[in-house]
Symmetry: C2
């Protein structure tokens, strides 16, 4: 069952992406799609954004010069980590390259339902998360940010959608869950469809960039959009899916639930050093073997840190592959270089972010 | 099971009230309680308000000169009928005699979940319902009225309460229902506990006057209040319960679902005449028998119209009993008198109400 393969609230690693296309009807981000993605950044060039639903239609709308939008959100349960950074960068990319209006939900009600974090507490985390978004390049101009608990239109939609949602549908998609989590699914559908309310100009093409584990939410919301098409005129939201970024242990997806395996955008130089030093690599059992056989960069989380996040230059990335595979560099040396690279990136990011906290506070001040 | 006996969304008649005290732990409105109810009106004197939970504690708080409050609501699915009038009169009584602050919820989200009526439509009905309340004597001064869909604090509480609510609890209380109705139960708990939020001065003694079929909501909300006592400081809400007012057919409780058996506060003189003329009575098979044996006023819905609603004077009521039981009056004659009584009451009410519609509109205008 779908509910067993995908768990939007879990941290399992989905190593085989192939069946998503055959079993779940996802579409590939292939050459044909890529050609239409303007100024494709590393996420697109390197196949990190690897699958989609109806993103080709979204591109067509853009090419027809229709206004397009992009929607996603964050559960404000902890500091931004490298997984949330992927979604953020996708949104910022759509905003910049496609002039897409960004709709960004702070999923504080889901955060309470799933993690039990009181709204007052998650409100503080939300400010930090949004400041990260701004530092990553989000423009506040073409952008609407809300907290679920403050946006009554979203909550109202959840109640509306509940009327055409059976328990069986929810069980099939998510397994046996408590009523709070079920209702947060309906609330999230409200988040995703909010941009299409009359208050925001009505029906439009919206793409939702998410990690691949969030697909149940996408499928559910697309069904809801179809069911309420007559009443609200919704278009089915499109989606793009990125691969998981693994935990530093290499074992599961990077998740807020795994504090030791996670790199957050608030980590200081020391903790970055400690964490990356202990990360899982593709190194051999002995120095001698490493020199003779070379490292296995395809298995290496440190390599993935560069691939997914910290090496923009494709040539440099290939060079790191080569040095590893040839045995030219040891894991220790490689880690040292990558740690420096990350520390440098983080320092710049955190300085930028610090200045943007007041702006984030203001954007979230609400009524 | 509780869910089978009580159905807050159904219209069955609960003819035997006795088991409520033994099985469900309700308390009786006995002489001891009645002595403490100041200026008891017909609802109290005639045993229509017959049961309670912790209402004695509420009275004690009042007697200690603590401020007390009263909370109830209406599902704005149709015009006020004689059943909703009972709840309204209880609230107005508490406001007037105990200086209780009235909290009144327009349950438009439940109305959508249960009846599928869109919010825009129920908003119009809500104005009419509130105008009826005002015409019945509600003072807008010591009063807070809200729509569920507009009151984010209520919706937020629903999500909070969901976290400590299992599906099994909901199933045991309400049977198998859809997720919308389950969530409207949580929303109603939010309504009932709203008066105890800090925004309204924190924990206080609140009584909830309802029809006896609403007890599952009361029990559920009292459990929720206990579970969140540490976090919110809630006191368990008290409740008073009134007997059902029957459908004019005598067969089920008066309900919006049964258009022919229901008297609404908007009925005109003609339809009142038609409806009451066809009402179920305690009359005998023939005129001769009626004269010989007398009528059975205990079975008669027309008598109940006087008992519950349209005869304030206890002596007059007894006189009607006597005339019926002695065979002095026929059902036709009695109905004629009662129809005139009701028409007169309605005319006065509707004239009063008409003038109060703009005030109701203003109170519900919201943000």
């Amino acid at each position: 069952m779908a509910g067993e393969t995908f768990d939007p609230w879990g941290s399992e690693l989905l190593s085989d992406y192939e069946h998503l296309f055959s079993e779940f009807g996802m579409q590939r981000v292939d050459e044909k799609v890529l050609r239409r993605v303007l100024n494709a950044n590393r996420l697109w060039r390197r196949g990190i954004v690897f699958a989609h639903r109806d993103f080709d239609k979204w591109l067509s709308a853009f090419e027809r010069k229709e206004g397009v939008a992009c929607m996603s959100g964050i559960k404000p349960s902890s500091e931004f980590h490298l997984g949330s950074k992927l979604t953020a960068e996708e949104m910022i990319f759509f905003q910049k390259e496609f002039n897409a209006k960004v709709f960004y939900s702070i999923a504080d009600l889901e955060c309470y339902a799933d993690n039990g974090i009181p709204l007052a507490e998650s409100a503080k985390t939300a400010v930090s998360n949004l400041a990260d978004m701004l530092a990553l390049g989000l423009s506040e101009k073409n952008c609407f940010v809300w907290k679920q608990s403050e946006e009554k239109r979203v909550m109202n939609l959840a109640y509306v959608f509940a009327r055409k949602t059976t328990m069986n549908t929810l069980k099939a998609l998510y397994g046996e869950r408590n009523i709070g989590l079920y209702f947060s699914v309906l609330t999230q559908a409200g988040d995703i469809l909010l941009p299409q309310l009359q208050d925001f100009g009505g029906a439009k093409n919206v793409v939702v960039p998410v990690g691949v584990d969030q697909d149940p939410h996408i499928r559910f919301t697309r069904d809801i959009a179809a069911k309420f098409e007559a009443e609200y005129g919704f278009k089915l939201p499109a989606a793009t899916f990125h691969k998981f970024f693994r935990s530093l242990s290499g074992e599961s997806k990077m998740s807020k639930r795994d504090a030791l395996g996670v790199i957050t955008l608030s980590d200081d130089a020391d903790s970055l050093k400690k964490k990356v030093s202990r990360a899982f690599t593709g190194g051999r059992a002995t120095v001698e073997e490493q020199k003779r056989l070379g490292g296995e960069w395809k298995k290496c989380v440190v390599y993935e840190l560069c691939l997914f996040h910290f090496e923009e230059d494709d040539k440099e990335l290939e060079e790191r592959q080569r040095r590893c595979a040839s045995g030219e560099i040891s894991c220790g040396e490689c880690k040292k270089e990558v740690i420096e690279k990350i520390q440098k990136w983080m320092k710049a990011h955190q300085e930028k972010k610090k200045k943007l906290v007041p702006k984030a506070e203001k954007m979230l001040a609400g009524d």
